[in-house]
């Protein structure tokens, strides 16, 4: 059987792989987010169950060098388990991924884009916590289990008071600062007191003060002690490492210490490495029950790396290994912890006293120097005597490669050898390793998680924004289409109303008749004057004809001057009227509406009567006239007797019937026709003006309509441009994000 696990050493995620067992698949899934080193051993047990202990192969893709080494070491002695590693991730690759995470987070923090800001906001606290370079290593212990000795050994000094009768009354932070040449101590309450002289006494003094009461209340309730200085041989990998000397959870005087201790254990944010100092002599008491129960909870419930809780069997030097082997001693401790529900605990057997003495050898009293020699005799193997020594390095829960490194250290110097033999070097290496391989790794796992959350959130928001933009523009488009439709409908109604209004106006022709009334009257009188008589003399006719001609001439002048002017005025009046009644609907520029010129030449068609043609109407009329003449008789002549006699006279007359028929009637006809033509012409001009106006309305309607369309198109174009701009921004953001290879 072959099981394949595709593992991400930065995110601790395992991707789906084609495994044969759903059960194993589920186990892999359940361990998502946990480092493979934390669950792989238990996983292999499950694989064994599935395969009924038949040989099997597990292929792991994507581990880093530490994980590869750790897992290999777990199964070096198991022949039926074949573990294969593929595509291991080297340190450079991990650093590249860390840089990508850092770069992405920096980009997000600097970004002014609201989408990025909003995505970042919920992750700010998490990022801040996991960017912290401060690593706190609380040291917890049951009373008098050698915690202060261990701390002194870790810092290579003898600052902390190791009196078994005294208790740590307040927290003491030991800040590793390799930039300092010597330690300084501070007592911080409301004010801070600092010294670099006789630090041991300073701390002892302030510890006593911390216990002082005034009227049953603490004299220095907020007192905190601090020492800061260089710790040789401890690589903190640029982290600010603080050992915290806790008063211990069992301190009845300081109940808040329990809370503080538990907080360290449960701190999933900073994931402090916790050193729990065990005193096997006190394992039978129930002093540590509550603390160990909490640790048990952390081990069983918490998904976080359990390697951060480390047990230190401090006073291993008290054991007589010739009577009882270290294995037995450690099994006893393991058994004790398992009873408390703590399995697979990492237990470091250490002689803190030996380690401390080795580091401060020059300052030791003779007695203590003698003690140091004894420690060396006991802990270091002696080939001559066939004495194996304590061989604590062999039992330290570190990898073989780490052990090999430490074995090399033995050759460096006596002090290095002492630290290895005392077990402290292994503990220090574990702490250093934890910082790099667990703490930093966990930090980046969390930072990557935040980066991933931000990235996913940004991408999701981008997609939502894109959908929103599409929806907005679609909605806007619909709304604009509806508005445009309404606007054009209203415009059409306006146009129809305007047409109705202007076509309601009827043309008034009376003014033409009124204008020609005078001429008409003259013409009537002329007709009447001619027709009153049946005949006229030629001498009488001439003035009448002249009069008729003058009337015609007047008519023509009247047309050319007054009537044209009146007509034009009338047409302008109509135009103004059209404007006025349509003004509430359309504002039209009618300046360039042309009013057709009136055909004034029509009047010229009336021909004057030619006086020279009067002969056509002349008649010779013979009249019998009576005249008095002298009587032919002499008598009658004598008395002047007159008699009458008839005589014939022939005269030329104008027959008015003929004149009427040939000259006046055609003139009258023409006169009527001309007036009718004027009226008709005026109506045509009125219709022209009205139609021109209607046409202007039509043009204006089309212009406004086109503007509505243009506005709509232009507005859509603006919407489209804005949308494209927004989409480009979103695409740019998406591209920016995708450049960071945070996965």
């Amino acid at each position: 059987m072959k099981v394949t696990i595709r593992y991400n050493t930065v995110s601790f995620e395992c991707n789906d792989s084609e495994n044969q067992s759903d059960y194993l698949e589920q186990i892999i899934k359940d361990n998502q987010g946990k480092r493979i080193t934390d669950w792989f051993k238990a996983f292999i047990e499950k694989v064994k169950e599935v395969t009924n202990n038949e040989p099997f192969t597990v292929e792991i893709i994507g581990c880093d060098w530490y994980e590869v080494g750790y897992i290999k070491e777990l199964f070096t002695e198991e022949n039926d388990v074949e573990i294969k590693f593929k595509e291991d991730i080297d340190n450079n690759e991990i650093q590249t991924r860390y840089k990508a995470i850092d770069d992405f987070l920096q980009y997000a923090e600097k970004s002014k884009n609201d989408i990025v800001k909003n995505a970042l906001q919920p992750n700010v606290e998490n990022i801040k916590n996991h960017r912290s370079t401060k690593i706190e290593v609380p040291v917890i212990a049951t009373m008098s289990s050698g915690k202060s000795t261990l701390l002194n050994a870790l810092i290579g000094q003898d600052f902390l008071h190791e009196d078994t009768g005294a208790t740590t009354a307040t927290t003491c932070d030991i800040i590793v600062n390799n930039n300092l040449k010597q330690f300084v101590a501070r007592a911080i309450d409301i004010e801070a007191t600092e010294t670099n002289q006789n630090i041991s006494e300073f701390l002892k003094d302030w510890n006593s003060k911390a216990n002082e009461n005034i009227n049953e209340e603490k004299k220095y309730p907020r007192l905190r002690l601090e020492i800061e200085g260089p710790i040789p041989n401890l690589n903190t990998s640029n982290f600010n490492l603080n050992f915290i000397d806790t008063p211990g959870p069992n301190s009845s005087q300081h109940s808040h210490h329990k809370e503080k201790t538990f907080n360290y254990l449960k701190d999933n944010q900073n994931l402090p490495i916790v050193l729990y100092v065990l005193d096997p002599e006190k394992m039978d008491s129930n002093d540590d029950d509550s603390t160990l129960n909490e640790i048990s909870k952390v081990f069983s419930e918490n998904n976080q790396n359990i390697d951060r809780v480390v047990f230190v069997y401090n006073k291993v030097d008290r054991e007589d290994i010739e009577e009882k082997s270290i294995v037995d001693i450690l099994n006893k401790v393991k058994g004790f912890l398992e009873k408390k529900g703590i399995k697979n605990a990492k237990i470091f057997p250490v002689s803190a006293q030996y380690a401390k003495f080795a580091q401060i050898e020059n300052n030791l009293t003779n007695k203590k120097k003698s003690d140091l020699r004894n420690y060396r005799d006991n802990f270091i193997h002696n080939i001559d005597d066939n004495y194996k020594g304590y061989q604590l390095l062999d039992y330290a829960p570190i990898t073989s490669s780490q052990k090999n490194i430490l074995k090399e250290h033995i050759k460096k110097s006596i002090l290095d050898a002492d630290l290895v033999y005392s077990g402290l070097a292994a503990l220090k290496m574990y702490i250093e390793d934890y910082i790099i391989n667990h703490h930093k790794k966990n930090q980046y796992k969390e930072l990557r998680k935040s980066a991933d959350n931000i990235s996913v959130q940004i991408e999701a928001t981008i997609q939502l924004e894109k959908v929103r933009l599409e929806e907005i523009t679609e909605d806007q488009k619909k709304e604009k289409e509806e508005n445009q439709r309404k606007e054009i409908e209203e415009l059409k109604v306006k146009k129809e109303e305007a047409f109705e209004d202007i076509y309601k106006i009827k043309v008034d022709k009376k003014f033409i008749e009124k204008s020609s009334k005078e001429v008409d009257n003259k013409f009537d009188n002329l007709k009447n004057k001619i027709l009153q008589r049946k005949e006229l003399s030629k001498d009488e006719t001439i003035p009448l004809i002249k009069n008729a001609n003058a009337t015609i001439e007047n008519l023509q002048i009247s047309i050319k001057t007054d009537l044209i002017s009146v007509m034009n005025n009338k047409l302008n009046e109509y135009l103004e009227k059209f404007k006025e009644i349509t003004n509430d609907k359309f504002t039209l520029d009618t300046n360039n509406i042309e009013i057709a010129a009136f055909n004034a030449e029509m009047g010229n068609n009336i021909n004057a009567i030619d006086i020279n043609h009067l002969h056509k109407y002349q008649e010779k009329k013979e009249e019998t006239k009576i005249r008095e003449v002298e009587s032919r008789w002499w008598i009658k002549k004598l008395i002047s007797w007159t008699v009458t006699e008839e005589y014939k006279v022939t005269k030329t007359i104008i027959n008015t019937n003929e004149l009427y028929k040939d000259a006046i009637e055609p003139l009258s006809k023409k006169f009527t026709e001309v007036l009718e033509d004027y009226k008709q012409n005026f109506i045509e001009m009125f219709v022209d003006v009205r139609d021109s106006f209607a046409n202007r309305i039509e043009i204006e309607f089309e212009n406004i309509k086109n503007n509505v369309y243009k506005d709509y198109t232009s507005s859509l174009s603006i919407d489209k441009k804005n949308k494209e701009k927004e989409l480009r921004k979103l695409d740019n953001l998406s591209n920016d994000i995708s450049k960071f290879k945070i996965n």
């Binding site: 009376k510 008749e513 009124k514 009334k517 008409d520 009257n521 009537d524 009188n525 007709k527 009447n528 004057k529 027709l531 009153q532 008589r533 049946k534 006229l536 003399s537 030629k538 001498d539 009488e540 001439i542 003035p543 009448l544 002249k546 006086i611 020279n612 009067l614 019937n657 009427y660 028929k661 009637e665 009258s668 006809k669 009527t672 009718e676």
Partner: protein, 140 residues
């Protein structure tokens, strides 16, 4: 007194059945017959019987000044073109009789320019010119 039958244009247009012209000439016919109602009615009767002319139903139309009878006549004459009713035509005949029938005109006289006289003057003038020219040549 004239007879309507003397109004040749009326007869011609009735014969031609030119209703538009008939309408116009019937107005002039009032002048021609000098407002003689009897003859005018005879003419109407003749026209109605011999053409498609027919009076229209009467419509009241605006008249600006009824006091000036000649003006009134003129306006109703124009109105008649718009609404050729018998009432309006009769009114027109009445108005003619009021305004024009008894109107006295002064007939000015002016001797006619005789074309022959002019010709004679021209001929004499030319003859004199020729005579003067001949005499000049002889004396020369």
């Amino acid at each position: 007194m004239r007879k309507f039958t003397e109004n040749q244009p009326l007869l011609d247009n009735v014969q031609n059945n030119d209703v538009k012209e008939i309408k116009r000439i019937l107005i002039d016919n009032i002048f021609f017959l000098q407002g003689n109602r009897y003859e005018i009615n005879k003419a109407i009767q003749y026209v109605l019987e011999n053409s498609d002319f027919a009076f229209e139903g009467h419509k009241d139309l605006e008249v600006s000044d009824k006091n000036n009878k000649e003006g009134y006549f003129s306006e109703e004459k124009f109105n008649l073109r718009e609404n050729y009713s018998k009432d309006r035509y009769d009114l027109l005949v009445e108005l003619y009789n009021e305004a024009f029938a008894n109107k006295e005109y002064t007939y000015e006289t002016e001797p006619a320019t005789d074309n022959n006289k002019v010709a004679k003057v021209v001929v004499v003038g030319v003859a004199v010119a020729i005579a003067v020219y001949v005499l000049y040549k002889i004396l020369d």
